[in-house]
């Protein structure tokens, strides 16, 4: 058989059965076509911190970059990984085989890592903006993967470090029992111990099916720890904090360290309960004129959900990907390692994160900000939730290069 993949896919398309699929496309000469796949959680725990708002940010990036005026025809497709690594990896494999040039977003570290393995195997650009695990730029890094926005090292050192500095020396963890929660707990524990504190207990709950945290919260309460460390994210964090409030845990003086809290979560919890929480993000919409301008542009596409750092990462990552592809020529867009190398070469600049860069291990290097959640009376405009406490430079935000065992970095 001398059929090429293109004729095969074309044949399959003419069978007419593939209407629901991301269509494979032939790269016609003179017509600069790209396909971007947003793989996210559209129905579960992480749908608010990824999902539709991530898709909106990708569309906004394409619009702001002026793709149409530059002669590009860019298609954005989306898929729900349902927080299952096998579904995510299968979807990524299918997309890459059918001509998707770049895959972005992907909340949930287990899925994020599974897709990184596929992207590495298929040599396709993969920009993860929404998984926390620092393994993406550590032991599991590869030449096709870039990790945007934030990671567990940043969260554990910034939020964890700040809580210890405030005098929270004994901790009890409630951990989402998968790649993300385990790593975040372990890294935060290391920070606590290095600062002379101790971890008195830990309970791992089954993810993603847990919605009732009462038994774990009671264990935390009876442990007598000063700080309740939440090594979870999304709706799990919202539920944990709300339920902790209902049980009177916060009122009794135990502090909550939400190690990964997004703006969307604060909105879900409400300022009445969330006030005073300390958290870390690398993007906040009300930070400066550029972030406000970006947010104003994207809001009509996602009216009820302001972008968080992960979703703003979709904007920033897509923008930089388009710049890199444009610089090297669209015919190279399918070559993941080449695109990623180009992206690492160019400094990034966009309204969401400002001027940043990408390190050779695939780590997006940007500053991070320690915020405190405002009291209900202090919030003047909708979604105005944060007071800035401290800015950490990019170099101090992330693990030093070559300390995390990434094979791409020659020691």
């Amino acid at each position: 058989m001398t059929m090429t993949r293109r004729t095969v896919i074309g044949g399959a398309l003419t069978m007419g059965a593939m209407t629901a699929l991301p269509h494979a496309r032939a790269r016609a000469a003179g017509n600069k076509q790209l396909t971007i796949g947003v793989c996210s959680d559209f129905s579960g725990t992480y749908s608010d911190v990824g999902g539709k708002t991530s898709v909106a940010c990708v569309h906004q990036a394409i619009e702001d970059w002026g793709a149409a005026a530059k002669g590009y025809d860019i298609k954005v497709i989306q898929g729900d990984h349902q927080n299952k690594p096998d579904i995510g990896a299968g979807l990524a494999r299918q997309w890459f085989d059918n001509g998707v040039d770049m895959l972005i977003d992907v909340p949930n570290s287990a899925v994020g890592l599974a897709i990184a393995a596929v992207a590495g195997e298929k040599n396709k650009t993969y920009i993860n903006t929404n998984s926390a695990t620092s393994l993406l730029t550590g032991k599991k890094c590869n030449a096709s993967t870039i990790h945007w926005s934030y990671d567990t090292y940043m969260l554990s050192h910034s939020t964890g470090g700040a809580m210890v500095a405030q005098g929270g020396k004994s901790w009890f963890f409630i951990t989402a029992n998968y790649a993300f929660g385990q790593l975040l707990r372990d890294q935060t524990s290391a920070v606590i111990k290095a600062a002379g504190g101790k971890v008195v207990g830990d309970v791992d709950y089954p993810f993603p099916q847990t919605t009732d945290f009462s038994s774990f919260l009671l264990q935390a309460q009876s442990s007598g720890a000063q700080v309740l460390g939440l090594a979870n994210a999304g709706k799990d964090t919202v539920n944990s904090i709300k339920q902790a409030h209902q049980f009177g845990i916060t009122q009794s003086g135990m502090k909550i360290a939400g190690l990964l809290i997004y703006l969307n979560d604060i909105h879900g919890i409400g300022l009445e309960i969330a006030q005073g929480l300390v958290l870390t993000e690398s993007f906040y919409w009300n930070m400066n004129d550029r972030t406000r301008a970006f947010t104003k542009r994207v809001l009509p596409k996602t009216p009820n959900n302001y972008p968080s750092m992960a979703q703003a990462g979709c904007y920033s990552g897509t923008t930089h990907f388009l710049k890199a592809v444009d610089a090297m020529g669209v015919d190279q867009a399918g070559n993941g390692p080449a695109v990623v190398a180009q992206m690492k070469k160019m400094p990034t600049d966009d309204d969401a994160f400002g001027q940043c860069s990408i390190r050779e291990d695939g780590r997006f290097m940007c500053a991070s900000y320690l915020f405190r959640v405002k009291k209900p009376g202090e919030s003047a405009i909708p979604w105005d939730y944060y007071d800035l406490l401290h800015k950490t430079s990019a170099e101090d935000t992330f693990a030093p290069l070559a300390t995390e065992g990434c094979p791409l970095v020659k020691a």
């Binding site: 058989m1 059929m3 095969v8 044949g11 399959a12 069978m15 059965a17 593939m18 629901a20 699929l21 559209f42 129905s43 898929g79 729900d80 349902q82 299952k84 690594p85 096998d86 579904i87 990896a89 299968g90 979807l91 494999r93 299918q94 085989d97 059918n98 287990a110 890592l113 599974a114 393995a117 596929v118 590495g120 195997e121 599991k140 029992n177 998968y178 790649a179 089954p206 993810f207």
Partner: protein, 311 residues
């Protein structure tokens, strides 16, 4: 010929032709998934069709096969064929133990025992993170070279492997059903007291069938882990056990080609309806209800009934 009826022989030829042509027309990964699940369903049908026992825990053997193969290939660096064979053996061993327990009861009690045992395996998989990776699963299983010689990285190369194993599986299942052994098993299903009075030991026959089903499930699980490069809790959970029963029912209990058609329909649905996300399960449920109400023999079963020839 070889115990195949005329209609079965024609069907087999068509099946082989479809298997050879498929990767040039459809996405090979999906075609391979169909074959893995079809093999799994063929094994399950040995129990449901020939022995007349409904097991709700077949995913335990499927998942264990996948984990065993994934672990051996990824962590120990062994070659895929060893992984797949070991997956089959692991499934068979577990099946021997569980079968020994479960076949003491019949009907709903049998189903419940298999379900309970499979749930034990599921929660074991959640906890034994050193072996299974817990919620993360075993990720990035390499498609290393078959026998250390033939690279499988190309989709069409591994497709050939899956196709060969699958077709051998089809012929094997047909032989089992049409052997003297298979006839005894069917007789046990239809009238167990009579077989006892004739001097047979029904329990041994049921147990062997149970183990065969588990071995096929284990091999199918191992193959799937090699194809997808990932092995997770989804494959060992109750949803997968239900899925394979659905495949058998949809295609036709007790037919050779029914489970294959069932697997094709269910996997194709999962693939083409993927944009609907979690709704796929609801749609599957609806189809199951329609199938039970409208054609209880299943698609191939109904066809065989019309043709008055076993398929």
């Amino acid at each position: 010929m070889f115990g195949f009826s005329r209609a079965q022989l024609i069907s087999l030829v068509i099946l082989i032709a479809v298997v050879i042509a498929a990767p040039f027309f459809v996405y090979p990964i999906v075609a391979m998934q169909v074959m893995c699940y079809a093999l799994f369903a063929l094994g399950t049908n040995l129990l449901m069709g020939s022995v007349g026992l409904l097991s709700l825990g077949q995913a335990a053997y499927f998942g264990l096969g996948g984990y065993t193969a994934g672990y051996l290939v990824q962590s120990l660096g062994l070659t895929p064929e060893i992984g797949i064979v070991a997956g089959g053996l692991a499934g068979g061993l577990l099946g021997a133990v569980f079968g020994w327990l479960a076949i003491r009861r019949q009907d709903i009690y049998f189903a419940m025992i298999t379900l309970a045992l499979a749930q034990i395996v599921y929660f074991g998989a959640v906890q034994l993170t050193g072996f299974t990776g817990g919620e993360n699963g075993i990720q990035g299983i390499p498609r290393s070279a078959l026998f250390g010689l033939f690279p499988l990285a190309n989709d069409h190369a591994i497709y050939a492997l899956v196709a060969v194993v699958f077709l051998i599986g089809v012929v094997f299942v047909h032989r089992v059903i049409h052997s003297p052994f298979g006839q005894v098993v069917r007789a046990v299903r239809d009238n167990e007291p009579r077989m006892v009075s004739l001097g047979y030991r029904p329990a041994s026959y049921k147990r062997i069938m149970f183990i065969l089903a588990a071995v096929l499930a284990g091999i199918a699980g191992g193959l799937k882990a090699m194809v997808m490069g990932i092995q997770t809790l989804s494959d060992v959970g109750i949803a997968t056990s239900g899925l394979v029963v659905l495949m058998v029912l949809l295609g036709g209990i007790g037919t050779i080609f029914g489970p294959i058609v069932g697997a094709l329909i269910v996997i194709a649905m999962q693939y083409y309806l993927a944009p609907f996300g979690a709704w796929v399960i609801v749609i599957q449920g609806g189809i199951f209800v329609i199938c039970v109400l409208v054609f209880r023999r299943g698609i191939v079963g109904e066809l065989a009934y019309r043709l008055k020839s076993p398929l």
